[in-house]
């Protein structure tokens, strides 16, 4: 190497495309981000339901039958798991983004919200009153 050249040759390895597979933490991050895929499926179901409701009782029944199909059922179980996983991560992040109260309290409060909403809906829709 010539004496004029200062010899420095910084080496920056290319950023790996599969970076997210390298550590468990990153895999969980990707999983969190991926929860929106089943969510999209369920939102699709809801839009289909809304359409069916507008089309009259026959179409509505079709939608109800669709929702009870095994593959739909299984996919939605997956969506439920995804939504709960999302909820867990989201609730834990929230107190760090808006530190309004002690984190544990905020997390508990949010879960309470989810449970109350779920019970409310089940009671309302299931007619359990």
């Amino acid at each position: 190497m010539s004496s004029e050249h200062n010899g420095r040759r910084p080496y920056l390895p290319p950023f790996r495309r599969d970076w997210w597979l390298q550590l468990r933490f990153y895999r969980l991050y990707m999983l969190r981000e991926a929860t929106v895929l089943p969510l999209l499926f369920f939102v699709g179901c809801l839009i289909y339901g809304l359409y069916s409701l507008g089309q009259g009782p026959a179409q509505w029944q079709l939608w109800l039958d669709f929702m009870a199909q095994p593959w739909v059922f299984v996919l939605n179980l997956l969506t439920l798991a995804a939504s709960l996983f999302h909820a867990k991560t989201f609730f834990e992040l929230f107190p760090r983004v808006m530190p309004l109260a002690p984190p544990r309290l905020m997390i508990a409060g949010q879960w309470l919200g989810t449970v109350v909403v779920a019970i409310g809906l089940i009671v309302l829709l299931g007619g359990y009153l």
């Binding site: 420095r8 080496y11 970076w19 997210w20 760090r96 530190p99």
Partner: protein, 240 residues
């Protein structure tokens, strides 16, 4: 006892790119990665790495241990019975062996105006209650080790991203009751390479040796930036 460690070596004057080499070091219950690196340096004086305080406060000795950013002086061989692979901090350019180019980090740090902005003159201390102090104290504990930059894939994908430590520092001054410089700092935060590159991966906070929680700082910064956008929308055009 002797333990085997693997270290990435790179000599820019000889090597095309980094390669890994294996070394034997003496270790006991208290042997830190830094101790081990020093032993390797005794075997091969051309081996280069940074260190200084050996008590986790100067921020010099960051390296990757099995792919995770760590302070060498605060990481112990006893915790790695399966062995260690020590490589330079990710997402920075390697200069030699474990030494990386920290200049981009310092540029990002300077860009957010990390100093108290307050034009009032005075010869007495400001009044600041413990409560006001507590608001920003955590974010003032950053030792500039850069581990969070190696942990953050968004920085890896976009080196223009100001990054966790710099944005945490901006937030630290913005939260300081004595500071009046928020308006001057917001443009950097509002920009694409400011808080908005972060997707809350959160690994930055996980690896931070000083529990600064830069992820929280950045995401609180997003709230501030969003508020700033609304406020600016109602300001007459032309106003800064």
């Amino acid at each position: 006892m002797t333990q085997t460690i693997v270290i990435a070596r790179y000599n820019p004057e000889l090597d095309e790119k980094p390669h890994q080499e294996t070394y034997q070091v003496q270790s006991d219950d208290n042997t830190s990665v830094l101790d081990a690196l020093q032993q390797v340096q005794q075997q091969d004086p051309s081996f280069s790495f940074r260190w200084s305080c050996r008590m986790a406060i100067c921020g010099s000795c960051g390296v990757m241990v099995n792919g995770v950013p760590k302070l060498g002086c605060q990481t112990f061989l006893r915790d790695y019975p399966v062995g260690l692979v020590i490589t330079p901090l990710s997402n920075f350019a390697v200069e030699k062996d474990l030494i990386v180019n920290m200049e981009p980090f310092l540029e990002h740090l300077s860009a957010i105006k990390p100093w108290l902005i307050n034009t009032a003159e005075g010869t007495q201390p400001h009044v600041q209650t413990p409560k006001q102090l507590a608001k920003y104290q955590q974010f003032a504990n950053c030792i500039n080790c850069g581990l969070c930059y190696s942990a953050c894939p968004q920085f890896g994908l976009n080196p223009e991203f100001r990054g966790p430590a710099a944005l945490a520092l901006a937030h630290r001054y913005n939260l300081d009751s004595r500071d009046q410089g928020k308006a001057q700092r917001m443009p950097e935060l509002n920009a694409k390479n400011g808080v908005w590159t972060c997707t809350f991966v959160g690994f930055c906070s996980e690896v931070c040796p000083k529990k600064v929680d830069p992820a929280a700082a950045i995401n609180q910064g997003k709230v501030e930036s969003a508020k700033d956008m609304i406020v600016s929308a109602f300001k007459p055009t032309g106003a800064r």
